[in-house]
């Protein structure tokens, strides 16, 4: 339980740090990184829930949720980066 709390709690701290960075920093890239840190924090919480003690197989459901979540996060990040790149290219031309 202590290990679980520390790991999941670290995830919550990552979430809050990411939120802070998202709100405070204006540049797009930092906002995207902040979102990924927030997502990473939530994944931590899910991974921590999966732990059921030493020697006991972990709960596979949160593991699968995290895998799905990672692919979704990668997709959104990719689209965000390309949108940002197009905007910068437009600014340079205009």
């Amino acid at each position: 339980m202590t290990a679980q709390f520390l790991y999941g709690g670290a995830g919550l701290i990552l979430f809050v740090l990411g939120l802070w960075s998202f709100l405070v920093h204006a540049p797009l890239l930092r906002k995207l990184i902040a979102l990924n840190i927030m997502g990473g924090g939530v994944f931590h919480v899910l991974i921590a829930v999966a732990y059921r003690g030493d020697g006991v197989p972990p709960d596979p459901v949160p593991h699968a949720l995290v895998l799905t979540g990672i692919v979704v996060a990668v997709s959104a990040t990719a689209l965000g980066l390309v949108l940002g790149a197009r905007m910068q290219a437009g600014e340079r031309e205009g």
Binding site: G8, I13, V16, V61, H63, A64
Partner: protein, 250 residues
Amino acid sequence: MTQTSDRARQRAQARAQERARDLSLLLGVLLALLGAVLLGLYYLALDGGAAPRLAELALARLPESGVGNPVTAVLVNYRAFDTLVELAVLLAAVLGIWSLGPAPPGFQRSGAVLAGMVSWVVPLLIVASGYMLWVGGYAPGGAFQAGALLGAAGVIVRLAGDPTAGLPAEATQRWLLVLGVLVFALVGLGLMLFGAGFLTYPPKLAKWLILLIESAATIAIAAALAAAYVGGRPAPSKAAIDDYGSDSSP
């Protein structure tokens, strides 16, 4: 005269900066409070939460799922619908990237040393990807890890100077991108049509249907990751331009 206005502007700027600093400090304090509250609640949830959760049920049903790795069983069987939609998310991202215009040009051709290394690493990644796909049936691994490795091979190829990242021409590439969702959907709907229910695999066929879906998903994920890295619609080949010109519906 200008000096005073300059000074006034400087003072206003300093004040604005100070206000921004105060605001971000306030935000920091509030968010620290939020973090503390979240930690406390998280402790309560862990402490009083329903301890077995889904683990025992998921592990107990494993023999019926057609695979030996519980995570793969969740991904492609118990919660297969999530995975299907997630492949659609990946497709949406790539289509969105394509709709924004053609890809930027690639990097310059690699020198002999890098090219030599690439010709070693890429086949290695392809083999490793195939292994990951197969091993996912009974040990950690599966379509996502395999797709990520294969996609990484595409990224390396583009870094080494091939602007297409090793992907085929646009028409073929489109089929690769949709392959995951297409096979998943056809298997699911086919099962529904034959009375088993949507995405309900008959136990005897489960293993092979899952392998089919995972293979298609691996290819689609790899193609999508590489295409996203390319960052735009692939440049049309000469033949494709002629083709489009002759038959373009409005």
